[in-house]
């Protein structure tokens, strides 16, 4: 069963509706998703070819229980072993995988768990990505915070005790320019020890500028590495260009960022292939940029405003757990983030096995931290959310819960030098 993504807002004009329907129904009306648009930097890189040649030939039905057991017994997990661990044949071995993953996590990260929170500063978007609440055809309250409002939000978050922040925007260069984001980073450095970005992909010199403004970590979700599927989900806008997005993390590292985050949105396409691609994307980039810190996350599709039926299809918690364990066994040194899309019980369980970083005090809306944190009625406008979160624990609650699970919450592990 596929998700049904297309929702028509009553507020769209006849012309807009006509264009939307054409994009949805007539592939020839869409731009070539493999072709760069004007202004997009092209870097010379062999990473994409390395990753995709492995992914394209991956036939997970080929792996047997014997391959899985061998993978679990090997001291170092090879790419072949990793492929076996991601296969359906590994499902009956999930407990053993979890045991091994836990041992690796403990060796590399001890009993620590990092806490952070996202801050959405704008939800304008120029793209039509059919599964996303921010998509340009979705009828939601749009908002872009000004610097004063951003500072207020940061203050509220900082007062809660949080020291690491992830700044997010919808993907609109015209509404949320690189300079606007840069100014937000400068403000963030006043309140936080560590500033990450999850914004639209930009060129190397722009990443360099944002790094100088105080950002140090760039996360870009590829959404799906299946280019044909990608084409049917990202119908309009800059985000439609798949290869420019693929090279984002490399451009970020070239621009001087300390680290990069990677992810596919599980549920959009074949999740085993997407999981393989995400991990290999990290694996090959790490070999090329050995000093860089890398992290993976594993979000699943969630319902959005005006479409509460969107779901992650065949990626249930069991499969998600399998993917996360396989990631950990294959790359023991990589940070793994599990978002508030997942339930409290899942997050409590997975931090003891494979995850090293979780968000708390999360809002995916705009300008609503004070009302969400204090229950105080908002006196200003608020922008709607990107997706529905599942685990809504506050920073305090999360800190206490993690401590109660026997873990040591870490709020900052980085020093700007």
């Amino acid at each position: 069963m596929e998700n049904s993504f297309f929702v028509d807002s009553e507020k769209l004009s006849a012309a807009a509706l006509e264009k939307k329907h054409r994009l949805e129904n007539d592939p020839s009306s869409r731009k070539d998703h493999m072709e760069y648009m004007e202004g997009m930097e092209i870097i010379r890189s062999d990473i994409c070819e390395k990753v995709m040649s492995q992914v394209n030939e991956y036939d997970y039905s080929r792996y047997s229980a014997r391959d899985v057991v061998a993978a679990l017994e090997h001291e170092t997990c090879s790419i072949e072993d990793f492929k076996a661990l991601l296969s359906p044949a590994a499902e009956p071995y999930l407990e053993r995988m979890a045991q091994k993953a836990k041992a690796e996590t403990v060796k590399h990260f001890g009993n620590t768990v990092y806490l952070f929170t996202p801050l959405y500063i704008a939800n304008y978007c120029e793209n039509y990505c059919v599964y996303c609440g921010f998509n340009c055809y979705n009828d939601i309250r749009r908002m872009k915070l000004n610097m004063e409002q951003i500072e207020h939000e940061m203050k509220v978050i900082s007062d809660s005790g949080m020291e690491e922040i992830l700044i997010l925007t919808g993907e609109s260069r015209s509404k949320s320019s690189v300079e606007y984001i840069g100014e937000a980073c400068k403000l963030a450095r006043k309140y936080f020890r560590m500033v990450g970005l999850e914004i639209y992909p930009v060129n190397t010199d722009e990443y360099k500028y944002l790094h100088e403004c105080g950002a140090d970590y760039v996360t870009v979700f590829q959404e799906t590495y299946d280019t044909d599927k990608y084409e049917t989900l990202h119908l309009l806008g800059h985000k439609r260009v798949w290869p420019y997005r693929f090279d984002s993390q490399e451009r970020a590292l070239m621009g001087g960022m300390r680290g990069a985050g990677f992810s596919a949105l599980l549920g959009l396409s074949d999740f085993r292939k997407d999981a393989l691609a995400s991990a290999l994307h990290v694996y090959y980039l790490q070999r090329k940029y050995p000093h860089a810190e890398m992290s993976l996350s594993c979000p699943r599709l969630r319902p959005i405003i005006n479409n509460d039926k969107i779901n992650p299809l065949d990626v249930h918690e069991t499969q998600l757990c399998q993917v996360l364990c396989a990631y950990r066994i294959f790359m023991p040194y990589v940070g793994i983030t599990v978002s508030s899309r997942e339930s409290e019980s899942f997050r409590n369980g997975i931090v003891k096995i494979a995850a090293t970083k979780i968000s708390a005090g999360v809002s995916t809306g705009i300008g609503d931290h004070e009302s969400k944190y204090s229950g105080k009625e908002s006196d200003g406008a608020e922008g709607d959310e990107q997706f529905e979160i599942n685990d809504d624990r506050s920073f305090d609650k999360m800190y206490k819960d993690m401590s109660a699970e026997g873990l040591q919450p870490v709020l900052n592990d980085y020093l700007y030098v």
């Binding site: 403990v106 060796k107 590399h108 990260f109 001890g110 009993n111 620590t112 005790g161 020291e163 020890r193 680290g259 790490q286 050995p290 000093h291 860089a292 810190e293 890398m294 040194y333 800190y399 040591q408 870490v410 709020l411 900052n412 592990d413 980085y414 020093l415 030098v417």
Partner: protein, 257 residues
């Protein structure tokens, strides 16, 4: 005799030869390391100490314990130097453990950059303890650069694999006139004991303790192991066969016939 057997670093004497590494910190770990392992030196990652976090690690370090701030997170000599200076400003004293890693996968130290940082910081009156890959040439350069000790790794950090670099550490112990503190990879008390028996001046460990089922008991086990190894070293091991048998009739007996 034992009472006079002190570890001397930067003119400061220590009775304990177990140093608690940083990285996987918790209050209970510090408590166990001090109380049961007898640790007198505790490493502290400056990147984590520099925080407004409610449970600031600094508040929990007993007064009689010497802080050893480390420069983890530094990717070159310049960054390490800046972190060391910041540590001193934060009131962490003048001991510093230099850690410079340019590989996020194995976290292996970069000896060249470490030598550069050692030279700068020792001139600024830091007591410099450099974490290094056990290479004799680098160790000699660290001595010349003003290090107070050298800290070779036993095996990759966090691996608990023990003395994978044993032969090379032995060379450093034999050739370097500074305390050799074995750092990283010590997973079991028996491995700590072995390193001490070889003549290491001290051992540093974290993961082995942090991940133990019973922290206090493991801490006590490390203390006993380090002390046993030290005593064995001081006692000068006697006839220990490493392989095969030895002839009971001397091979050179013919010289005396």
């Amino acid at each position: 005799m034992e009472n006079n057997d002190k570890l001397v670093l930067g003119g400061k004497e220590f009775s304990s030869r177990f140093i608690l590494g940083s990285g996987k910190y918790s209050l209970s770990l510090i408590e166990a390391a001090v109380k049961y392992a007898g640790a007198e030196i505790i490493t502290l990652a400056v990147r984590r100490a520099n925080t407004k976090e409610h449970e600031n690690i600094l508040d929990y370090i007993p007064d009689n314990v010497t802080l050893l701030p480390n420069t983890s997170g530094a990717r070159n000599a310049e960054e390490a130097v800046r972190i060391a200076r910041l540590a001193r400003e934060l009131g962490c004293g003048n001991f510093v453990k230099i850690e410079i890693m340019r590989d996020s996968k194995y976290l292996l130290p970069d000896n060249n950059e470490t030598i550069k940082a050692t030279e700068i910081l020792s001139k600024e009156d830091f007591v410099v303890l450099p974490y290094m890959y056990p290479d004799l040439y680098s160790a000699r350069e660290l001595v010349n650069a003003g290090a107070a000790a050298v800290m070779p790794l036993a095996s990759p950090i966090g691996s608990n694999k023990g003395l994978a670099t044993k032969e090379f550490i032995q060379i450093l112990i034999d050739e370097i006139d500074l305390p050799v503190i074995v750092d990283a990879g010590i997973g079991r008390p028996s491995q700590a004991c072995e390193a001490m028996e070889m003549g290491a001046a001290a051992i540093m460990s974290n993961t082995a303790l942090a991940t133990a089922g019973d922290l206090p008991m493991m801490a006590a086990a490390f203390r006993a192991a380090v002390e046993a190894g030290r005593k064995a070293y001081l006692a000068k091991p006697g006839r220990v066969l490493t392989r095969g048998a030895s002839a009971s009739d001397p091979l050179t007996g013919f010289l005396h016939n």
